[in-house]
């Protein structure tokens, strides 16, 4: 049975074609916007790629860029089709083009929605990627003389200052790592030797943090070393001190930043999705109502337009059959040959 049948008198058809032409140009601009939003997101992710362990999250901006480019093409053809729609002589040449066109357009429009869903679903993946990346960054902080890791210190310092965060989960991550290189340790000093001996791995661990963890909003000069030792500093209680260093972890800061960015982009992409969907629906109505006019002498009669000729399930099967037959084609040929040979013998 037909899905969503509507009557279209001549004037309504004309209005539909005009409205669709305008809508398709708006959707073209929206498609370009989607592409640029994808580029923006990719640039932002690449800026912090040194603290990300893998680039799985890049699938979101990549999808947005592909969908943006595809929608430019889709809407260009939509505007061309609706320009020819009202002309009975020019419309028939689009006849064979429309079925694959609708299939491809629906695919890319659904992909747009999928991209938004993915941006929420991949939060966990982003978080684990940042966790591993930051852990490595903190571990290699001191290796400014090792090729390939020279800039870890600079990157982590800049990250902590820009995002106002300290460490991976919080500032205590710095207590578990030797972040002062052996080059700058005086091994003749008793204090240094004791500290190294007290540790199983022979690492120089301190209850101190790098200068980039310091909070400029603190009313007192920054206390970086002996953070857990109240008696080392005058008028200092580390359990109540909140403004001295940043208490937030960098993983949380970065996840919040990227999720905020993707939420904002997601809202924009959802509205583009709705616009694109309305373009396709209008085009389908225009196509079906104009097809009923074809062959008639009086082109100004009232016709019916519909979304789907058969039900939803049957239409999906109709589209999937060619794909399935193509995939199963090889097997069918093989079956045919094996079936024949016993018959001939």
């Amino acid at each position: 049975m037909v899905v969503m049948k509507m009557k279209f008198p001549f004037q309504k058809r004309v209005k539909l074609a005009q409205g669709l032409w305008l809508l398709s140009w708006c959707a073209t601009v929206a498609g370009a916007t989607t592409f640029s939003l994808g580029c923006l997101l990719k640039t932002e992710l690449r800026r912090r790629s040194e603290v990300m362990d893998n680039s799985d999250i890049h699938i979101v901006p990549n999808t947005l860029m592909i969908v943006g480019l595809a929608s430019l093409g889709i809407n260009y053809f939509a505007s061309k089709i609706c320009q020819d729609a009202l002309d009975a002589g020019r419309f028939p040449r689009w006849k064979n083009f429309l079925k694959p066109y609708f299939a491809v357009s629906c695919f890319f429009t659904v992909l747009m929605l999928l991209a938004v869903i993915m941006s929420y679903a991949m939060k966990g993946s982003l978080e684990s990627s940042l966790k591993a990346g930051l852990r490595n960054g903190i571990r290699f902080y001191k290796d400014t003389d090792t090729p390939g890791r020279c800039f870890q210190k600079q990157n982590i310092d800049r990250l902590q200052m820009e995002f106002q965060c300290c460490g991976n989960n919080d500032f205590r991550d710095w207590f578990e790592v030797q972040w002062i290189s052996n080059r700058y340790l005086d091994f003749s000093s008793k204090e240094v030797k004791d500290r190294i001996k007290s540790n199983v791995d022979g690492r120089y661990l301190v209850d101190g943090v790098p200068f980039s963890c310091c909070n400029p909003s603190s009313p007192r000069p920054c206390i970086q070393y002996h953070l857990t030792n109240n008696s080392a500093h005058y008028n200092y209680d580390y359990q109540t001190e909140e403004l001295n260093i940043y208490l937030r972890g960098c993983r949380e800061a970065l996840v919040n930043y990227y999720m905020g960015l993707m939420n904002t982009i997601g809202v924009g992409v959802l509205s583009v999705f709705l616009l694109q969907g309305s373009v396709l629906v209008s085009l389908r109505f225009l196509q079906t109502s104009m097809e009923a006019v074809a062959g008639e002498e009086n082109t100004e009669i009232e016709t019916e337009g519909y979304l789907l000729e058969k039900g939803v399930k049957e239409t999906i099967m109709e589209y999937l059959d060619p794909v399935l037959t193509f995939l199963l084609l090889k097997n069918q040929v093989e079956e045919g040959t094996t079936g024949e040979t016993p018959a001939t013998t």
Binding site: T144, D145, C150, K153, Q154, D157, R158, M161, W179, I180, S181, R183, Y184, L185, D186, P210, F211, S212, C214, P216, S217, S218, P219, R220, P221, C222, Q224, H233, Y234, N235
Partner: protein
């Protein structure tokens, strides 16, 4: 002889009017740009106004803002006038307004040029203002509990981090002031008391700097204390000393930042000034051409347009005399008792001598 005389046919006059209408609309846009530039400069200066000693420098963005708004108004009026100028009848409406309008536009164009030149000359005043402002900001760095100065520490730290600078002229400026508040000094500690006593003014001075002076480019953890004694630190050679802290002074950093902004703004304003000059010249030609057409009486004929009717020297003398006589007209005495020999008395017509012919 006239300055810059050109002959215009009727079609040329109409074309000129159309082109000037378009140019005036573009000038409205450039006026908006000028306004935007002034606003941008004002915001940039206000961002760091706490480290500037006086706000006198704000007159540069204020001038740009007012000039931008004036440009929009004048050029909008100009576009209306130029549109009507193609037709002699409509031009008569604007005839009386034209001359004041051109004088106004000339003054305004001079203001635009003045604005551009100001941007170049403001540097020395800015330098002085920054030096004094930074010096007092550093002195009040520790006063985070004094109302009105609570946020100077945060401002100065953010400044040093963002502009990658340390101190006023360089990092040693921090050695001469007490930047650690007495609230955080243990006065029972003999080392602290000795240090305070060793200083004439009783200040706690150290050869150390705040954390915001630390450079991110350094390969070693930041060395903030005992800076005058390189031997106290392990592996602290000449190169490490160069990279450890930011070498540049904040006065120089801010000066470079603002000079860069104002040079770009001055360049843009100069280009806008040249464009305005072009529009002004076009409007002057159109005005004189239309006036000459009206004087000749025939709207279809050719007419001449010029920038100045007489040479520059004669026009200057003429205008100067007008200004001189403006002052003089109120000096004439109205007292009726004083006999002022008027020229009218000499020109009195003598009584008509009628010759009567006597006929005998």
């Amino acid at each position: 002889m006239a300055v810059g005389k050109i002959t215009f046919t009727k079609t040329e006059r109409e074309k000129l009017a159309e082109v000037l209408w378009l140019l005036n609309w573009i000038s409205v846009l450039t006026g908006v740009i000028l306004f935007g530039l002034g606003l941008f400069l004002k915001i940039e200066i206000q961002k760091w106004q706490e480290v500037m000693s006086e706000q006198g420098i704000l007159y540069v963005p204020h001038m740009l803002i007012t000039t931008g708004l004036a440009a929009c108004g004048i050029n909008y009026l100009g576009s209306k006038i130029c549109l009507d100028c193609a037709d002699t009848n409509k031009f008569l409406r604007w005839k009386l307004v034209m001359m004041p309008y051109i004088v106004c536009t000339f003054c305004f164009t001079a203001c635009v040029l003045a604005g551009a030149l100001l941007c170049y000359t403001i540097r020395s005043q800015l330098e002085q203002s920054l030096y004094l402002g930074l010096r007092s900001a550093m002195r009040f760095y520790k006063d985070t509990d004094t109302p009105g100065r609570c946020y100077l520490k945060k401002t100065l730290d953010m400044l040093q981090i963002q502009f990658q600078c340390c101190g006023n002229t360089d990092y040693r400026d921090w050695f001469h002031i007490q930047w650690i508040s007495s609230r955080y000094l243990d006065m029972t500690n003999s080392a602290v008391v000795d240090r305070v006593r060793s200083n004439v003014e009783g200040k706690y001075l150290m050869d150390s700097v705040p954390f915001s002076c630390c450079s991110t480019l350094s390969s070693s953890p930041c060395i903030q204390h005992n800076l005058s004694n390189p031997a106290a630190h392990r592996h602290y050679d000449q190169q490490s000393q160069q990279l450890n802290l930011w070498r540049r002074g904040c006065q120089q950093a801010l000066l470079d930042h603002y000079t860069g902004i104002m040079q770009s703004i001055a360049l843009t304003v100069l280009l806008i000034w040249l464009f305005e000059l072009l529009v002004l010249t076009g409007v002057r030609y159109l005005q004189t051409a239309m006036e000459n057409v009206i004087r000749l009486g025939d709207p279809e004929s050719e007419s001449e347009g010029w920038i100045l009717e007489n040479s520059l020297a004669e026009t200057a003398c003429y205008n100067f005399n007008i200004i001189k006589n403006l002052g003089k007209c109120y000096q004439v005495d109205e007292d009726p008792n004083i006999n002022i020999p008027t020229a009218a008395a000499d020109q009195e017509v003598p009584p008509l001598q009628v010759r009567v012919s006597v006929t005998s």
